[in-house]
């Protein structure tokens, strides 16, 4: 829509890249603000940010190498050139970032679910900002539509090259709306301490389903089918949704146990609920 914002020193400044920078800045600000709620230090926040960037730069290429068994020199050289981006793919990036943060939490002995409960809404907000970048760049576009909110992208952008003269679903904005609204709901949510992981579960479930649904409307080659009924990123999204559902069930069962145990216990036992929760793995 507006892929280039201008030039600096003869180099183009891309709207998508600027939105990525803004998203990173937003994430840092919110993550630092919420760090104590997640039991994180400022250093943890910065390290998590770097792990997220590493996932963004390397995960899609590693995923492609693993899928195809291409571990030749050329593939490793390509991996060593992070400025040459690969086809990014949300699935590998999100999966790798989640795994990296899980590993970081294990090493640093930080409770993972409380961390995710505070960080996931922020991550969804960041993804919404990133998708504004997609809209400006004209990537991640939808299939043609006659609906009144269909968007005609300007000549030369990927969406226009794929469907010249056609209005297409603004799938980028669908992502913005779903991720943004989900992030807002989760940021407002204040689950009881016994329900640690509930926000994460709701976020994985909601974002996974939303992503899988919106992606059915995608018209770009980046969503090339892996199977007759779903794309790679849709499978990853559905996997997250399934994990969210499983986590929700686990959280609900654990909370029912904890709450029933304490509620049915001696009157003075109600006091140490929060402390007791910290003992629950």
């Amino acid at each position: 829509m507006w892929p280039t914002l201008g030039t600096i020193g003869g180099h183009s400044v891309y709207a998508y890249g600027v939105m990525i920078s803004l998203a990173l800045g937003l994430w840092l600000v919110l993550a630092v603000l919420f760090r104590e709620r997640a039991g994180l230090t400022t250093g943890d926040v910065l390290n998590c940010a770097l792990l997220g960037i590493a996932a963004y730069l390397f995960a899609p290429k590693l995923w492609a190498m693993a899928k195809t068994g291409s571990f030749g020199v050329a593939a490793w050289l390509d991996l060593a050139r992070p400025w040459q981006q690969g086809a990014t793919g949300t699935g590998p990036v999100v999966s790798a970032a989640a795994l990296a943060w899980l590993g970081y939490c294990l090493i640093r002995r930080i409770p993972f679910l409380p961390l995710m409960d505070t960080q996931l809404p922020v991550v969804l907000l960041v993804m919404a900002v990133q998708r504004i970048g997609c809209f400006l760049a004209g990537c991640c576009y939808g299939v043609p539509t006659a609906l009144p909110w269909g968007v005609c992208f300007p000549p030369g952008l990927p969406a226009e090259l794929a469907y010249p003269g056609s209005a297409v679903h603004p799938t980028q904005l669908y992502y913005v709306l779903t991720f943004g609204s989900l992030a807002g709901l989760l940021l407002l949510a204040r689950p009881r301490p016994a329900r640690a992981g509930a926000v994460t579960a709701a976020g994985w479930l909601g974002a996974g389903l939303a992503y899988a649904f919106v992606t059915t409307l995608r018209g770009d080659h980046g969503a090339a089918p892996l199977s007759p009924w779903a794309t790679t990123t849709q499978l990853v999204a559905l996997a997250f949704a399934a994990a969210g559902l499983a986590l929700a069930l686990a959280v609900w069962r654990r909370a029912r146990f904890l709450e029933s145990e304490f509620l049915s216990g001696p009157a003075d036992a109600a006091q140490p609920v929060a402390q007791s929760n910290r003992r629950i793995p």
Binding site: H11, G17, S21, L24, A49
Partner: protein, 691 residues
Amino acid sequence: MMKYAWQVLLLVAFAAIIPFVGTGCSLGVSSKLGEPTACLKPDGAGTISVWMGGTRPDVEEEAANAVTLAYSFQDYHHEGVMYDSRIRILGSDFSASAIRGVGILQFPADITDFSASYDDYQGQAGSITVLAGLPSVPITPTVTLNAEAGQQLVIVRVPWELVPEFGQPEQWFLNTLNFQVNPTRDIQIKAIMAAVVKKGGDYYYLPVCPAATSFAEIPAFDIRVGAGEQEIQFPPVADLPHPGGPQVYNLDTGDVYTVRYFPRLNYTPGAHTEGFGFVNTQAEPVAATFHGYANDGQAVGESAVMNWPAQGQGAYQSDWLLGLSQATEGWTEARMTRGMLGFFLTQWFPWGFLEGLDGANVFAETMRIGVIPRIQMQNGYSTEVRIVNPSADGMTVALQRSYATSGSYIGSFPVPARGALVTDLTAYGSFDGALYLESGHPFIATATIRHGNDCVATANAVAFGDRAETLFASHIVLWPGIYSTSINLYNGGNSSDVTAEIRPYYANGTPMAAPFNVTVPRSATVTLTDTQLGLPDGASSEGWLEIRSPGKPLAGCITFGDPARHLYESTLPLQAAGSKNFYYAQVANGDVGGVVYSTGISVVNPSTTTPVNISISVHKSDGTLNGNVVNRTLAPGEKYVRQLSTMEGIGTLENQASGYIHVTAEAPVLSFVLFFDQQFNFMSAVQAQSK
């Protein structure tokens, strides 16, 4: 904060760099594509790797015995580089659904062990069929594509099921071709993209890009031993033997030729006729035949084989070419062995004297959406619109008028196969402006604008894709009461009004007026005349101008004329870009048969910073020079405008009624030519054409 210094440093570095490299998240085509590469190891093992993507061709025409396919190849490594090709296949006993695609490569004959594979790195991978060791492949039953001496042809057949239908998203694959060179040495290879047709029991390989029938015409690229991964640079279109129009393969007769379309054939003995001409810019002679069709699609005449020598020019009256003896109305197709640059001239003899004459370039390509940028029907003007359907299918074309404030739908009209729709639009209301045309089929169109019987102007349709955000008029002039300039700007296809910035310059490059804005309402056509273009009021002046509408492309045309008496008038499209090598396919200069012709040329250096060297040469119809080559250096923004005989250093010019002008420049320049008679009974602008 210092204890987090390295984390902060990395984050800041990422945040600072990503705006310069982050073009989009799923732009896999531009990001995952390395340059096409080749590699030849010291042991002789060679590899060529190319990321390729695309769809099946657009079937523009599918009728009994005729199929037209449009291919578009985009070089994602070089912004804006497109390879567009169209082929037309004639013959019985085949169908479009049976047409496939292959790559045909030429390798040295002793190279062996060819194998190929594809991989999209999304889960689809496999092998590609390779046929090697071929000395030739048939193009048609009588024409073959031969390997050059000491070479072999290698056919690489990508699985057709992996190529999406036209209109579907592209799928991209890394295609890799492996081979063995023995003895190990540097090699050269060449490549052609081709369509494969099975007709009867035989396969025919029809070159698409480039549409060449000989590998000798195709540039080679080198693969050097031990040089690691070597980037393959695809040659620009100008360096390819591209016919500049559809290549036709007749599988019944075996003929291979390219075509040009003359949209107007309007002959009435003693009253009006058309002249058709070509210049052959190539080093080989070209043979051409002309085929006239009536408005209803019936053939009305066919010429003998006409020959154009290398670097030669020739122009002929249509009635003589086609053997017409009675009034005929229709259009003409020229079929030629190689592409040439052409023009047509509409001549009007209302009282036996040549009173009106104007021309336009011949069409090399068709369009599906276009705009005729000038329609004039008021204040004594009439406009005849002619829409030609060159395909074997009937079609319907939708028309929308565009006037000063907006646009409105006129209607849809049928055009018979190989026929033409001719209408003066009067029945649908009189308006001045432009005409938008859209059809599901390819067409060409032109408008003939007349004022009474005194002057005639021709405006060809401009393909919608050729609208531009920067347009140039290389000549604007005002002689009060004698000579006037007007410009039409059409705003179609944009979602809102367009504010265009007009920048007029004098011939020496200094601004004629401060840049000013003009609003062109959505779907409307605005006409600006003389002082509205920045030309000083009440004074004779001339210059050139630039029109900018960032992000909102416009189409337009410029008209020169006689505002008071309407004795002469000429229209030509505004230029979107300059060129470094171009031709004018017709020249008339001096006293020829009692008519004294003059030709004027204008060349503008649009750069505001860099001078440019140019050369202008005038040629007779046999290609020989007339006078001397004129070399000039144009200062930034300078316009060089002269009558041919007054160009510095041209020497003595022989009188000529035909011939051509060739202009070369070190950087893109803007240009056009006007020729007229001394009494100003007529005037015709000639548009520059590039090879």
